[in-house]
């Protein structure tokens, strides 16, 4: 589903590359933690998958397509296969919960009928069935993250990328979010989660890829957080 072949990403300016000769393979339906200290290259790896940046050398394959040389106009179609969740939720404050979720469908041209069907289903999946009319600021942090996950999942993407999804949440709420991501993974969606939350990584044991100074230093099928930061 995601394959990096000797990928190096160097940003303009002096210093070492953000990613250095990284090769990795993530299969369909896997759940992978991407761990490492700040500046280890986790965010760059995620941005490469989203084709927000291109590798300096090497090749990136996502959903069966080599995306390095993908024409700009094809990138939106690629991103429809990828859902993204962030630490800071990134909800639209002037829209209700349901409108926030529907927004992801509206802007890619889904019909009103389809939106009316899929949005309530997705809100039910994330446990916010009765909160569609609420505004984001009326919700707790955990609930806001659930809205963000609903928005990322509403188009039923093949890949879900989560960048520190529990970073702003208390441990109990984080567990709820992890259960939800686990449920989504069970539907066959590949989940890649960058995290600093060692409690979560150790509790919900999955494959762990550790990056350090832009290199893969550990790739365990059923790993633990494994280092102190």
């Amino acid at each position: 589903m995601i394959r990096f072949e000797k990928v190096t990403k160097r940003y303009p300016g002096p210093g070492r590359p953000a990613l250095d000769q990284v090769t990795l393979d993530i299969d369909k339906g896997e759940f992978v933690y991407l761990v490492g200290t700040s500046g280890s290259g986790k965010s760059t790896a995620l941005r490469l998958v989203l084709r927000e940046v291109r590798p300096t050398t090497g090749r990136v394959h996502v959903a069966g397509k080599e995306i390095n040389r993908m024409a700009g106009w094809k990138v939106p179609r690629l991103r429809r296969e990828i859902g993204t969740v962030f630490q800071d939720f990134r909800l639209l404050p002037n829209k209700t919960v349901a409108e926030n979720v529907a927004f992801a469908q509206q802007v890619i041209g889904k019909s009103r009928r389809e939106i009316a069907k899929v949005v309530p289903e997705t809100l039910e999946l994330v446990g916010l069935k009765d909160k569609g009319d609420r505004m984001p600021d009326e919700l707790s942090g955990g609930e806001q993250q659930r809205v963000a996950i609903a928005r990322a999942f509403v188009n039923r993407p093949m890949i879900l990328i989560a960048d520190e999804p529990t970073g702003n949440l208390d441990p109990a709420t984080s567990v709820g979010i992890m259960n939800l991501l686990g449920d989504i993974n069970e539907t066959g969606t590949t989940v890649v989660m960058a995290t600093h939350d060692h409690g979560i990584v150790d509790q919900f044991t999955k494959r762990v890829i550790e990056l350090d100074h832009g290199k893969v230093v550990r790739d365990e099928a059923s790993g633990s957080y494994g280092f102190q930061h």
Binding site: L50, G72, W73, V75, P76, R77, L78, R79, R80, E81, G83, T84, R90, L92, F103, A104, Q106, V107, I108, G109, K110, R112, R151, N155
Partner: protein, 311 residues
């Protein structure tokens, strides 16, 4: 594509940036009005030249049977074929002359009818008739400064009733028109540049106000066109309003300024009409305001949105 969303965004965008949009519209309106007036003045110069000849030309009137000039050159009455041949040869051989054209009595009379009051050539006993109108030569000079040689060579010839030096009468009018044309174009140029800057500022502000939405749209795979469409439509609305206001002002100028005032008071000149007005609106060269307005707003919007909403 869900156009409902696009139009909702358009409405929100127009409301949110109302003062900026008004500034763009007003600047566009004034600059396009000036540009349109510049085009009309240019058209007026063309119309006047077509009818009266341009400032490089001199008109050599030939004697008629009962010539009103009472010039001694016309002592023998109507110009004879011999006299005309000599006059033509003189013109042909003169090195100040670029080209010349013969205008028959009838052609001259038809042309004159465009600017003369109708009563002067209609009715049972008209003052002006084709028979009484002089045949003439239109002589185009190589340079407007050098005409003395040809004038002095011709004015003593038999059969020449008089020479009208267009440079004196028309030179001033064309001079004023040139100043007016370039003046309005320079003014329009500055204001259009101001409009361009205002459009870029408006887009920048609009992109800033929508940065969250744009970021999410990019992430969930909205196409660049879809993201850019509300911006483009906002610019288009501003352009349409600006163009409509300017077209109104130009129509008012054409109706009250040209038709009701100028053409009555300055009747020796033919004036621009509604065909020329249409040209000022829809013309290609120079571009009419209907082209100019949208181009000035849409092109910078396209360039800027490419930068701000790049996927």
């Amino acid at each position: 594509m869900q156009l409902r969303y696009v139009f909702t965004e358009l409405r929100t965008g127009l409301r949110r940036n109302l003062s900026m949009h008004l500034a763009v519209i007003l600047t566009l309106f004034v600059s396009l009005s000036l540009a349109g007036i510049g085009i009309l003045v240019q058209r007026e110069a063309t119309v006047a030249r077509d009818s009266l000849g341009d400032e490089l030309k001199i008109l050599v009137n030939l004697c008629t049977d009962d010539d009103p000039s009472h010039s001694p050159n016309c002592a023998s009455g109507e110009v004879t074929a011999d006299q005309q041949q000599r006059i033509e040869k003189e013109i042909q051989d003169n090195d100040e002359v670029r080209s010349f054209a013969y205008q028959s009595k009838e052609e001259g009379f038809e042309k004159a009818k465009e600017t003369l009051p109708e009563s002067s050539y209609t009715g049972p006993d008209p003052i002006v008739t084709a028979e009484g109108w002089p045949a003439a030569y239109w002589v185009t000079l190589k340079t407007p400064e050098r005409a003395d040689g040809i004038i002095s060579a011709l004015e003593g010839l038999d059969g020449v009733s008089g020479i009208k030096d267009q440079r004196k009468a028309l030179g001033q009018i064309f001079g004023i028109m040139t100043v007016l044309k370039y003046g309005s174009w320079i003014g329009a140029g500055f204001l259009l540049f101001a409009a361009l800057l205002q459009v870029t500022n408006t887009i920048r502000l609009a992109a800033l106000a929508r940065r969250r939405e744009i970021a999410i749209m990019r992430l969930v795979g909205a196409s660049t066109l879809y993201i850019a469409l509300p911006f483009l439509l906002e610019s288009l609305v501003a352009a349409i309003v600006g163009v409509a206001l300017a077209a109104g002002v130009l129509a008012a100028f054409q109706y009250w300024g040209v038709e009701q005032a100028l053409s009555d008071h300055v009747s020796f000149l033919p004036w621009v009409d509604w065909t020329d007005y249409t040209q000022a609106l829809f013309g290609l060269f120079p571009p009419g305001i209907v082209l100019l307005g949208p181009a000035l707003t849409l092109i910078p919007t396209l360039l800027l949105t490419r930068k701000y909403v790049k996927v």
